[in-house]
């Protein structure tokens, strides 16, 4: 707090002082006192006014400067109530109380919201696990009673499972807790698992899958990765062209393994490309080709990727196809493993 601002805030006091000096000067002049005496008394009076003001300014400046500094630092503002030293004046004390009160109230509210959120997430997890039992018995029932009806029902059951799975991963994607397990995995094994899972829609759409003849070791969570690949495959099915082909390629770099999932589908218009990972964004394809596009799949994929330290990007040429690139960092585990070999 500058001195100028301090004095400006106290203009009434300063006005009173000037008036006091003027009145006392006028009285002293009227009393025929010598001019030296007038100057001396007026000077002494001025000093008596200014000295306490300066002392007070010094005291308040250190406190308010600390506050001003704290307010500017957005990242540490929540620490301000703890960082502030208790000032020796009343407004400061009150200010500190008020700040602490507000902070406590906010903290309580955030904690309550977090608890609600966690409980809801736990409910979703439980629900998903409960629903899997009837779905498993439905699958077995259909397997035991083959036929046209069972075949059609199995398609519907598959769609149901995909939606349930998405709900589960959506609930997991926002959680602060860590519920993934990073392990060494064979990337081609995860790709094959995702293909097995998505076999029905891929076969029904007449896809040709280029053989996966490579392999690479990656450190990540297998189930999460399989879910992400499932979403990418499901998009390739939704936005396919004629004679659809799906291919998985892998490139090993110094710092990462890059998996490319490429299709020869309708592609993404260039104006839509920067927005495909936004929540709720459906784009021209989503509106034109798939009436049920929710704009959740890719949003969720990128969110899950980032939680696992992976990066998902897209390259696309309209009417030529789309390439989704998944960059899986090798991390330190890998470096350690290679050093010990």
């Amino acid at each position: 707090m500058s001195l100028k601002r301090y004095l400006k805030d106290r203009w009434r006091l300063l006005l009173g002082m000037v008036l006091a000096l003027a009145v006392s000067g006028a009285v002293l002049c009227a009393l025929w006192v010598t001019w030296q005496a007038v100057v001396f008394l007026e000077g002494a009076l001025l000093l008596c006014f200014i000295l306490p003001l300066l002392l007070d300014w010094g005291e308040k400046r250190s406190f308010w400067d600390q506050v001003a500094q704290g307010v500017e630092d957005d990242e540490r503002i929540w620490l301000l109530p703890n960082d502030l030293a208790e000032p020796p004046f009343r407004e400061g004390e009150l200010f500190c109380r008020a700040l602490e009160g507000v902070a406590r109230d906010r903290a309580d509210q955030v904690a309550a919201a977090r608890r609600d959120n966690r409980e809801y997430r736990e409910y979703v997890e439980t629900w998903v696990h409960e629903i899997k039992t009837p779905m498993a018995s439905a699958r077995l029932l259909l397997a035991n009673h083959p036929g046209e009806l069972s075949d059609a029902l199995e398609d519907e059951l598959f769609r149901l499972e995909e939606h349930v799975e998405q709900a589960l991963y959506y609930a997991r994607s926002g959680a602060a807790e860590q519920d993934y397990l990073v392990r060494e995995l064979s990337l081609s094994a995860v790709v094959r698992a995702a293909l097995r899972r998505q076999a029905r829609p891929l076969i029904a759409a007449g896809f040709r899958v280029e053989p996966v003849e490579w392999d690479a070791a990656v450190y990540t969570d297998g189930k999460w990765l399989e879910f992400i690949l499932g979403q990418l495959i499901s998009n390739a099915v939704k936005y396919r062209g004629k004679n659809p082909v799906l291919s998985f390629r892998c490139r090993e770099e110094e710092q990462a393994v890059v998996l490319t999932v490429a299709d020869n589908g309708v592609g993404i218009p260039p104006e839509d490309l920067p927005r495909i990972f936004e929540k709720g964004f459906t784009g021209q394809n989503g509106r034109r080709l798939s009436r049920r596009s929710t704009g959740l799949g890719l949003y969720l994929c990128r969110k899950l990727c980032r939680r696992l330290g992976m990066e998902l990007t897209a390259v696309s040429e309209p009417e030529q196809g789309t390439e989704m690139k998944l960059c899986i960092p090798r991390g330190q585990f890998h470096a350690v493993a290679r050093e010990t070999l």
């Binding site: 696990h129 409960e130 899997k132 039992t133 009837p134 779905m135 498993a136 018995s137 439905a138 699958r139 077995l140 029932l141 397997a143 035991n144 083959p146 036929g147 075949d151 499972e161 519920d179 993934y180 397990l181 094959r192 293909l195 097995r196 899972r197 076999a199 029905r200 891929l202 076969i203 029904a204 007449g206 896809f207 040709r208 899958v209 053989p211 969570d221 189930k223």
Partner: protein, 225 residues
């Protein structure tokens, strides 16, 4: 010889359906509906493989798993559960489970994994066989036998024949056959399936089974034995 599978599962619908599926796939199967002292029951029954659900009323599947492993280090145990928590999986494996599968699983995958576990645990035993009207399919050797003659099949041909034989003479659609192949990691397309079916038909003819693999236009294939 047919393998004896014990199914520890608390959901009655799954118990009945899974037992039916296993019987159709050439196994014998028992499924207890009470779980007190189930570990001793299993050991006494001379089971070859245990399918174990972790969520059981009144007792803990992981404890059963540990108990079984303590008394019988060789018995293959496959944990089947709807809890797809990585820590559950880790804990089960630490307690001695040989494999872990989450619901809802693809029935074909369950059967494939069971066959692999059994093969590994009992290499000396005859591999599981499917039989229909004199035709015998040896799944372990990939061999088809009929009236004393036998022929080696490729992996894909064996899978197709297996799918047709478990279909019990019903028409099996092309997509169902392709799905069966995909579930064993053979991601074939439509043309490859046609080629494989044609080859299989030729081999069956060589065995003396003329005109038994019939094409049903627009519907699929049928094995008429």
């Amino acid at each position: 010889m047919s393998f004896h599978i014990v199914l520890v599962e608390d959901e009655p619908a799954i118990r009945v359906q899974l037992a039916a599926l296993l019987e159709r796939s050439g196994y014998t199967c028992t499924a207890p509906d009470r779980f007190e002292g189930v570990a001793e029951q299993i050991l006494a029954s001379g089971a070859h493989l245990v399918l174990l659900d972790l969520n059981l009323p009144g007792c803990d599947g992981q404890q059963i798993c540990a108990e079984l492993r303590r008394s019988s280090p060789q018995l293959p145990i496959m944990v089947v559960t709807s809890r797809d928590n990585p820590l559950d999986e880790l804990l089960s494996v630490q307690l001695g489970a040989d494999d872990f599968l989450t619901k809802p699983y693809h029935p074909q995958i369950l059967l494939a994994r069971m066959a692999r576990l059994l093969q590994r645990a009992y290499p000396a035993a005859a591999s599981p066989c499917l039989r229909r009207g004199g035709l015998e399919l040896d799944l372990g050797q990939g061999e088809a036998r009929y009236e004393g003659r036998s022929l080696l099949l490729t992996r894909n041909e064996a899978r197709i024949l297996q799918r047709l034989m478990t279909g019990e003479g019903d028409i099996v659609s092309r997509s169902a056959l392709m799905d069966a192949l995909w579930q064993s990691d053979a991601f074939v397309d439509d043309n490859t399936l046609t080629v494989n079916v044609t080859r299989l038909r030729k081999k069956l003819e060589e065995l003396g089974l003329k005109d038994c693999l019939r094409t049903r236009r627009g519907q699929g294939y049928q094995l008429c034995l």
